[in-house]
Assembly symmetry: C2
């Protein structure tokens, strides 16, 4: 019998391989696998549903992640997917698997973070499952949101000429991770050395306590903007842009000089002698939104300092391109986080 290694597929390849033959049977199943969230119809209002599995040692490292932050972030990453569908998150379920090394007090801290995120976003924790695990901490969150039918924003509906925008700034979370990994290494080698993270609060905060961009969702509503496509940035801008291009059957051009990078992130990158632009393109976990809008909506956007226009949508034949400050053009490639690469 033949054996194919999971890493030969990669995360997205494996999901596609396993789900490509699904034919939805229920009239209420409007949108299935393949976007930030699935969509279920309820007589005009639609439910949006998304789920994430977080595994200790794979998605988080408890040696530098406070449990309260972890609880907060576990919820936020799912709410971010709901906002990325232009929907209001309303409920979550939370399942956790725990080895006996965790005390009840530790789990309470985790739940404090969960409840903080729920409160901040007006979301109810309505169910879940608690079990033991043989090793480490396992977290599974499912988030549910609602949206009127014609306001759902998918990945597959960007059109040529649309402007490409991102919220906030990019690359910070990845740089925060580099600092924490470096300090962990130093600590393991020389436990006496004090951590030197004083000036890195911004990028570390970006990693440990990301925000779901509710404010952008509210701004769209207030200004009557309906993006033509949208995703949240969990695997890195390049990876998400390629998803939008592939699903929408379009190409794109983005400009290096337009990429929003925080001053603190830029300085952090220089300390590691890496290119801030590379961090903005390929660093994951910022949980910002990338979206496309019709050119006619451009004026409305200029009111919001949290939104940057970084390029525009082209024909599929033109590919996905990146224009550097030096004027060179490169193909955008996904170097985003891949769960199965070693």
């Amino acid at each position: 019998m033949s054996r194919t290694e999971i890493k030969d597929y990669g995360e997205f390849g494996l999901i596609h391989h396993l789900t490509k033959n699904i034919e939805l049977q229920n009239a209420s199943s409007i949108l299935g696998v393949g976007d930030d969230a699935a969509v279920i119809d309820h007589f005009g209002k639609q439910s949006v549903i998304t789920t994430d599995l977080l595994v200790e040692g794979v998605h988080f490292d408890l040696s530098y992640t406070p449990l309260k932050h972890l609880g907060y972030k576990s919820v936020i990453v799912n709410l971010s997917d709901i906002y990325a569908m232009n929907a209001t998150p309303t409920q979550i379920t939370l399942s956790i698997g725990l080895s006996s090394r965790f005390s009840v007090e530790a789990i309470e801290e985790f739940y404090e973070g969960v409840y903080a995120a729920c409160e901040e976003h007006g979301v109810d924790l309505i169910g879940g499952d608690t079990s033991s695990s043989q090793k480490g901490f396992i977290i599974s969150v499912t988030a549910i949101g609602e949206v009127v039918a014609d306001k759902v924003v998918k990945r597959s509906t960007a059109q040529k000429g649309d402007l490409i925008c991102v919220s906030g700034d990019l690359g910070g979370a990845y740089l925060g991770l580099l600092f924490l990994e470096r300090e962990k290494k130093i600590f393991l080698e020389s436990p006496g050395v004090q951590p030197d993270l004083e000036n890195e609060a911004y990028v570390i905060g970006r990693l440990l306590k990301p925000k779901a961009r509710k404010d952008i969702f509210v701004f769209f509503e207030e200004k009557d903007i309906l993006p033509t496509s949208m995703m949240d940035i969990s695997d890195g801008l390049s990876s998400e842009l390629l998803h939008i291009c592939e699903k929408s059957g379009v190409g794109c051009v983005i400009y290096e000089e337009k990429l929003p990078i925080a001053e603190d992130a830029r300085n952090a990158a220089y300390k590691f002698e890496i290119d801030p632009t590379a961090c903005a393109l390929s660093g994951g976990e910022d949980y910002e939104l990338v979206f496309t809008i019709k050119q006619d909506d451009y004026e409305k956007l200029t009111l919001n300092e949290q939104i940057s226009v970084i390029g525009y949508v082209t024909d599929a034949e033109e590919g996905a391109k990146f224009k550097s400050k030096g004027g060179n053009t490169f193909d955008i490639t996904a170097q985003g986080w891949n769960a199965f690469k070693q």
Copy 2:
């Protein structure tokens, strides 16, 4: 800082401890933590949502669980929770975490089982997440169902005088587990010995390929029966009855002679020199339904051989009682599976 061990709470205690302060914020959140599934309102029709986390080495043992059966069962245990709310399952999401020891072919087998369960119950797989795990196989399924508002059946609404009923037969899955564990032990000690499971197909099937009782749900609809309370039996009849009594503020009496036990399960119990009744009371994973009905509905039930009346609901002060064939009365105690007991 004090340290409380998780096992001091137990699974249900821990969930209660962590969720007791939740106040639902969304008008659409009709029912939260504490039943088989949560309920979300959508203008008269309600969504029912439930989730389960299954961890290798805790909930299943791949040395005797074929992956296809595991995929099937992972879905079925969630659909069972949806039927236990008197709702029609419509969608699931599935997240899996995998170590690199699994090949794509192995995961395909797992998904074959998942799709078989989906097809059997007319359910759509609409989303999920695939990631790596450091150790073993992790499965998280969330199931969604729909029901008209006044047909939701909770645990908390049994009333004095109601009849207590169960579907199918009980104890089989636990006996199947005993055989498989015994054979595993023999195999590990003497790999040359052939397994002796020839006559145990029934009980092993009960464990590896449980059925969600869609037929009972359909029967209720056809005969216009609305149970006054209902749960699925995953942790054992005793444990579930105590939940219903506690949540409904009632007591109960059940009769040993009325407990449905399959002939094959009875014979299996004798081989292990254990009491078939104990298996029926405390063995988990049968995924049958336990429910209460008004006495007026009794006549309708007699048409269905798959339903046994095992007792009736009493006042809370009378406690939860078991009457043996010998005429003795015992308190019902939960010896169901507890995820945190060693």
